[in-house]
Every structure is written in C-alpha cells, then in structure tokens.
C-alpha cells in the first residue's frame, strides 16, 4: 500500500490516481500510523517552503519521514516535498532561511532566471545508474517552482536547467525526491512512478 501524506490543501487527487496506475492500493492520509507503516510514503507539497513546513509539522510529518528512514521504509518527496528534505530554504520575504527536515544538507534558494516560476516541461540529465529514470531518461517532465537545491546530495542525481543548473531529482537509499511533478508529467511521469513503486 502507498500512502500519500495529506498535510494541507492542494491537488492530491491527481497524485492518488497516478500512483494507483502502478498497481498498488493508494490511500491519502494524515494519520501518523498509516503513514509510518505504508510500504511507500509520498510527501507532496504545495505553496511556499515555510507554509509547507508548518502544514507538515501539524501532522508530525518531519518525525514520520525520519522514523521511516531509520526503519528503512521508502519515501518519495515531490516538488516542495523534495525541497523540505533539505536543511533550509530561503523562500521568505526577508530572505531569512527557514528550517527543513534536514535529511539532506543543503539550502534551497531562488533560481537565477529572468522568468519565474520555472513552469512547464523540461528535460533532465539523469545518472545512468538511476532507478527512477530507467526507460525515460530522455523524456520531459512538468516543473512548477521558483526555488531549488543546486548542490549534489544523495547517491544518484538528475539535473535540469532554468537560468542555472539545479537538482531535478535525488535517489538516496530509502529516500528519493523529484523537483518536478511525476503525477503531472503524462506517460513519462507514470513510468517514473512505476519505477519507484517497483523498487519498493
């Protein structure tokens, strides 16, 4: 069973349906025990970094992610759900950093690009050893974000460019994350989801 962590507003319906296409039961939940025990946990994310962390903390999300990691249970972060895995984000009116979960050491900062958000389909440069991108290395994925991590973390990285190079995806043992939305990336996104579900 795959659990999608519900910790605020936004479109979770697409994620629910997209992960269901990989052939597993999917539940959208904010229940701590369900999120902890699920075979795979998806941490989506909408809105700003700080608002997202507040929502996550309200359902004890950071502790859930850490505990799953300690118990070697797979977790996948999507979009802001990837960004909050880092130590800190600078998405604030005053530019002051806000603490993330801190699974990965690094700062999420604004992209240096003339047009923001980075909105639309972009290609990625994935490591040949990637599990997530197997069979979809050359495809485009759908991004919507203005901030990103720019330094390598984890064991396997995928990169993309908008104004500057940034981390499009990370695979690191039991925790993976994508800056783009696989659940909104058409056939290629569904294939990536299937790759992740297949690795559980």
């Amino acid at each position: 069973m795959i659990a999608i962590l519900d910790y605020g507003s936004g479109n979770l319906r697409s994620a629910e349906r997209a992960f269901a296409t990989a052939g597993k039961d999917v539940i959208v939940t904010s229940d701590r025990a369900v999120a902890l025990e699920a075979e795979g946990l998806v941490v989506p994310g909408v809105g700003a970094f700080a608002a997202c962390m507040n929502g996550l903390n309200a359902v004890d999300g950071a502790a859930i992610v850490r505990e799953r990691l300690a118990k070697e249970r797979p977790t996948l972060g999507i979009c802001i759900g990837m960004q909050i895995m880092f130590t800190q984000g600078t998405e604030h009116a005053d530019g002051a950093p806000h603490a993330g979960i801190g699974v990965w050491d690094g700062t999420v900062s604004q992209l240096d690009a003339p047009i923001l958000p980075h909105m639309g389909w972009n290609t990625v440069e994935a490591a040949p050893t990637s599990t997530l991108f197997e069979g979809v290395e050359g495809e485009s994925f759908y991004f919507v974000h203005s901030y990103a991590a720019k330094k390598a973390v984890g064991t396997t990285q995928a990169w993309s460019t908008h104004g500057e190079k940034f981390l499009a995806a990370v695979e690191d043992g039991y925790i993976s994350a994508t800056q783009f939305h696989p659940e909104k990336s058409g056939v290629a996104g569904l294939a990536l989801i299937k790759n992740w579900v297949g690795s559980l």
Binding site: P117, S140, K184
Partner: protein, 257 residues
C-alpha cells in the same frame, strides 16, 4: 535542457459541454469536455484549460464533476477558470483535481483576492486572466469584463503590474479584439505585457495560421493557448508542435506509447 513552449487547448465549458463562439457570442456545441481533454492529452497538449462560462450554480457543480473525471484519467496540468470569487472556491477546485485556477473579474473587483489565494496556496496555482483590447488608455490597452463587452476602466499594463506585485504566478493574456477571429495573436499587446512582467505569459486569442504561433513566441510568450483552431480541426496539436520544432522552438516530444 531547455524549458519547452507550452501548447494549451482551452475548453469553454457550460453545463457540462464544450462550446465555442466568435468574440464570446454565437456559441456552438463542440463536444464532451472529458473526452476532448483525453484526446488532446494523447495528441500532445502540454496543459489543459477549462473556462467555466456557466451562468448558474448547477452549472458550476457540473464543472467540478468534469474536473474530477478529467483528473482521474489525464495526467497533465489542468487550469480551471470562471466564477472563482473566494479562497474556498479555489480550494474546492484544487481538491477536485485542478492544478491551477485562473481569476479575472473577481480580482478586478477585489484585487486583495490575489494575495489571499497566493498566501494560502502559493503563487504557482494562480493565473491572472486579462481580457484586454486596444483603447485610448495610457498604454493603448484596456481591461474589459463580461467577455469583452464592458470596459473595466483600467489600463491593462498597470493592472498586470499591480497583479504581479500582489502575487500572481502566471498571466493569461486574451485579446478581445482578436478572439475567435483566427487573424493572429495581438503581437503588440504580447510585447507590451512581456515588458512589464516577469512571470510566465500565455498568449490567447486569434490563433489561426501556424505562423501565428511562432510570432507570439517571438513577441515573448512562454505558452500558447488556442481553442477554435483545435476544436474545429483546423490544426492538430501535433501540427503546431512539428512546425515550431522545425523552426527551432523547444517543444516537448511525446513518448511513444
């Protein structure tokens, strides 16, 4: 690694059906929205936009159902506009399966709505739809309401600048002069709006020939929205993408399936 230009078919939906007219009048039935969304997805649409033009509460409920059924089978971004007046309206649409909402008249009436939605859900969910036409305002472009029938007494560029400062994540610029005419996008208007905004810009209104699409990109559009040329089969989405690709514009190529 380059961001592709987006080709976005727009479905005007009323009471559960897609309709299309010229300059927002003379509406004719163009099909079932869920079926058309699925078809456009297969043809390579990069996003879909539903514009709810229902006049009734029952019509709006029908649209929520259309959004739900579309989100169940189409895994590309979906924007929904029409009749959104509050944060609660936005929440309902996002929960039904929309990724973005576009607001127009309600933001003109109460600009703070932009900040309210952006604070709650983030700027990335919010598209400002601007129905503009040429007029004797400071910039030469004015904002209209009621599908272009009434002047809002606002300069279009000043409105775009104000809305960007309040937190919109994207601008959908619809030329009321060009809408439905298939005589080309209003290039001057796209150029002018591009110059005052740093968020993605979707050009809308007037798409006819394949050259019209590339001209809008040259003027600074990031995405191209069209309705009648797609609904009535004048161009397939694949034709537009092939044309743009051949002329070295970055387009998303579809995975074989």
């Amino acid at each position: 690694m380059t961001l592709s230009v987006r080709i976005i078919p727009c479905l005007d939906v009323t009471d559960g059906r897609v309709v299309k007219g010229v300059n927002f009048t003379d509406l004719v039935d163009a099909g079932d929205p869920v079926e058309m969304a699925a078809l456009y997805n297969l043809e390579g649409a990069d996003e879909l936009t539903f514009l709810d033009i229902s006049a009734s509460v029952a019509g709006r409920e029908t649209t929520l159902d259309v959004v739900r059924r579309t989100a169940e089978q189409v895994f590309i971004p979906l924007t929904v506009g029409g009749g959104i007046r509050s944060v609660d309206d936005v929440n309902r649409l996002l929960r039904a399966g929309a990724d973005k909402v576009s607001i127009n008249t309600s933001a003109i009436a109460r600009p703070e709505l932009i900040a309210e939605i952006a604070d709650r859900f983030g700027s990335q969910v919010l598209v400002l739809s601007v129905d503009a036409r040429r007029a004797r305002t400071e910039s030469g472009f004015e904002v209209t309401t009621h599908g272009g029938r009434q002047s809002a007494d606002m300069d279009a560029l000043a409105w775009v600048e104000q809305a960007c400062a309040l937190g919109v994540g994207e601008i959908l610029l619809n030329s009321m002069d060009a809408d439905g005419t298939r005589a080309g996008y209003d290039i001057g208007m796209i150029t002018a709006v591009r110059a005052v905004s740093k968020v993605p810009l979707i050009a809308s209104g007037g798409a006819g020939s394949l050259e019209d699409f590339s001209a809008a990109l040259d003027a600074g559009a990031d995405a191209l929205l069209a309705a009648s040329v797609f609904h009535f089969g004048i161009h397939r989405i694949g034709d537009v993408k092939s044309y743009l690709g051949k002329h070295n514009y970055p387009v998303r190529q579809m995975a074989p399936h």
